[in-house]
Symmetry: C2
Subunit: 601 residues, 2 copies
Amino acid sequence: MTYAAPIRDIRFSLEEIAGLAEWRRQGLFLDASSDVLEQILYEAGKLASDVLSPLNAPGDRAGTDLTPEGEVITPKGFAAAYKAFVEGAWLSVSFDPAIGGMGLPKGVALAVHEMIHAANMSFGLCPMLTLGAVEALTAHGTPEQQQLYLPKLVTGQWAGTMNLTEPQAGSDVGALTSRAEPQADGTFKIYGQKIYITWGEHDLAENIVHLVLARLPDAPAGVKGISLFLVPKFIPDAQGNPGIHNDVRCIGLEHKMGIHASPTCTMAYGDQGGAIGWMIGEANKGLACMFTMMNSARLNVGLQGVAVGDAAFQKAYAYAMERKQGRAEGWTDTGPSPIFHHADVRRMLMTMKAKVSAARSICHMTALASDLSVHAKSSQAREIAKAREELLTPIAKGWSTDMGVEIASLGVQIHGGMGFVEEGGAAQFYRDARIAAIYEGTNGIQAIDLVSRKLTMDDGAPVAALIEDIRATSLACEQSGHEQVKWIGKRLSEAVDVFSDAAHWLIRAQAGNAKRDALAGATPFLKLAGDVIGGWALAKGALVALNHLKDKSRDVSYMMARISLAGFFAENVLAQVPGLLSSVTAGSDMLYAPQIDALAG
Amino acid sequence: MTYAAPIRDIRFSLEEIAGLAEWRRQGLFLDASSDVLEQILYEAGKLASDVLSPLNAPGDRAGTDLTPEGEVITPKGFAAAYKAFVEGAWLSVSFDPAIGGMGLPKGVALAVHEMIHAANMSFGLCPMLTLGAVEALTAHGTPEQQQLYLPKLVTGQWAGTMNLTEPQAGSDVGALTSRAEPQADGTFKIYGQKIYITWGEHDLAENIVHLVLARLPDAPAGVKGISLFLVPKFIPDAQGNPGIHNDVRCIGLEHKMGIHASPTCTMAYGDQGGAIGWMIGEANKGLACMFTMMNSARLNVGLQGVAVGDAAFQKAYAYAMERKQGRAEGWTDTGPSPIFHHADVRRMLMTMKAKVSAARSICHMTALASDLSVHAKSSQAREIAKAREELLTPIAKGWSTDMGVEIASLGVQIHGGMGFVEEGGAAQFYRDARIAAIYEGTNGIQAIDLVSRKLTMDDGAPVAALIEDIRATSLACEQSGHEQVKWIGKRLSEAVDVFSDAAHWLIRAQAGNAKRDALAGATPFLKLAGDVIGGWALAKGALVALNHLKDKSRDVSYMMARISLAGFFAENVLAQVPGLLSSVTAGSDMLYAPQIDALAG
């Protein structure tokens, strides 16, 4: 089956839950009107359904090939699809019109990217990395660099990559050893090997702009001695067109469990005398520059969890409507019932839908916070929004991708035996989804970032503001006068209290020099936070739906379904939040008891 | 790395937690002495480590092939490994000496099979199915059938299969349409196509004995019209040796996500005039006969969850000890620390170990209940044990295999990028583990079996007896005088109360004609039950460990570690049990609200 873009769900989340509609009323983001949004989502949805989705399974089967010359051959049809993507200018949605963008909010760009990832996650990675390169160059490039590279990158005519990882330097970026030697002409010669470089080499774009972390000769050890370099595959000639081939080559492709159509490359820099590179930003400040890309990439990876989850949901829903087995309790027609009518299958589908919806709204809230951090009217509002974006980013990445794996696994389960057979198609989502919890900082790294950096920012003010917002929603639910929404409010209220307790325990632990205890609770806290914020998002949706039901202005059954979705999440996820507290606050003694080693053998 | 059999863990679980040691003291299972057990596990562990484990990754890469003649070619080395398996008589551990078995408890056989599955799950499936065929023939075959087939099957010289599924008949076995036509000589001609037949055709054994479900011409519709037939690949000649090829052929192999070395066959019966078969048991009672195989197979599949989980744990543990990244909090040596020292990695490893241990003990308790149902001294004790076996079987299957998937996923996560790359080896466990939650009755089917058949057996007496046993353990923990064990007791006590509430709610719902509500709560209840019973098993282990610590008779650090393991499980799993209650008791209204359909598009 072909992916169908969930335009209604995306609009409801972006406008009604993440608040785009409200910001419009306050005079912001007026270019992103309802009509514009509808049209963009419709057109992007067409690209996703008609062009990218049909290539997903064939791309998985075909994979990519590396020629002896170091060229990567992508699966059949990908080059044409990429051309259509470039022609549609889909990369440029949220970029400044000054550099050729559409100037729309990031939230809108995110909505477009969801569709692309859902239709074909392997494909989506290529523009996702280019997106990051544009952001890094926009923020840190020299005017010359920007003038030369941005116009080509913004269209996707040239592609971008991120080169961090080396065999000994994964999560520990500071351990990297690639070298950059300054040349008399102001350029640098880059030497070293990078691994796990997504779309490091391919035949889709005219040129590939590698952003590479490396060390200057006199650089300090660790993360404070890393600089960022721009290393184009083809060095632009005087006219800015791709010129001679730089000394960078793909020397190997990984054989992976999933995203087979996305080449994961080992890149060799400087094997033939040195790759020519240009420094981006200041010397030894490369990691900060790279973080400009990484924060955006982390949100986009979170969105991949949403995307692959929704694709898995759609496939499982279609299968459940079609596949007939047994007679469901209460089924009165003759013959077997579609498995959709079995309670256990409906539970799985509702779980998938509720969690996809919650994760989508977490990502949208993060994106709109990022937009507000630039466009809000007061500097105070911009600062608050920036803090909200930073607080939510690791949750958007970590929670959404963990959910993506869980949801894809439920999709397999609904398919039964056909879920384990590759031709069924559900298996690919399960395999593809798994990487998103690993790359762009493993989810463990996200949890550590959340607990040790984000919770403690500004004496905990950002998390306190978030808790206040959640409490306002739970109160509004409790006062709604609607039985089910009141109940949702009660569950949310209990859950946010636990969230607050957990957050304060972690802040205190770190203030009190019990850092290891806080680290031991980081992953359960990220889950707890995502559960609560996801439940909050759905509860906001239920309140909006309730209002729409009162004024009968919108599709009644959809609005009733939004309330059911929030109710289901409240009973099945929020209700479990109190039970997570002990995992957060148990400390690290149990983990570090010396006799644990005795369990190994 | 090579799998190392966890003999100490298995013995601790089987003897101390599941109670083999206690039963020996009461005069049962005396043949399964400590020495015998140790020796068997040591020898089986050698086969697993030296022969089967080295074939696991190559077998995954190579997969199986089907020749135009319908012969299945297994990966290199499998035939020799199977020969070693047959020579070691590893299939016969728990069979009656009268048919050539060793006469040891099923629990011991299960321990052997864990090692085989952990080392090579694809391989392990072949003897697992033969095991089921032996049990079905032992219980339901005629003396002639038993005499002809059992001696060959018990050694594994001949292999067995189970043929239930047809394209339209998966979970709904009653929908099958394969036909059996009675012949004048008392045999039957079998016609039909079966799919998803594990090891349906291969080159490991001299002959393959297919147990096939089919309908007699006058059979009633549904499950009451199914009979079981024995259809040998080669019809035994007068001397009982493989004779002419029967009219059964493999006509296709599935391309699966995992267990690549295990051929999953489409089998065609009777394409050339009719396959010759013999009826096993009574006409139209085939499903009951097949359930003899399935109950045993379900427990063995549950054990696969344990096995693949333990293999994933071992691999992740070894990687965590070797891979160095960053400097863990509290790390004082120079240079980066092995990731084992990071709190988040330790949490993942502890989670893996605790859940593997809990699932293993649930399986062992189920197996020993099965043994007691045959060997206990009084008929009352045998009946009680039988009910315990039946109650625990769906939990052993469903909970252990869900855990297997979760644990294998954590194994991938610990490996980081290397977890997603196939050469890392962690990915195979994640792919292989996924099938165990599907075959032998999906875990949804297990949950329905648990709730609608097992809970309500004998007016709920079996579950009441289980709850009583768990409460006795929680009380003993609370009275232990040891701080951590007391705390474990408290958590277990709270959790078993919730288990009891949930079970009674489900029993009442079914008595009160709210069957759909009970079905809606079935899967969360299975999880809840497994969490509590797993926590109970580990708590029993903690009490035993405490005793051993007092008399200093056993490895002190291992015993301390067992207490830590139970403590960790209590804080991280038992503590979450109360939060599951609302998922069990929420009823089905939310799932069947008509507007749910509005969420699809």
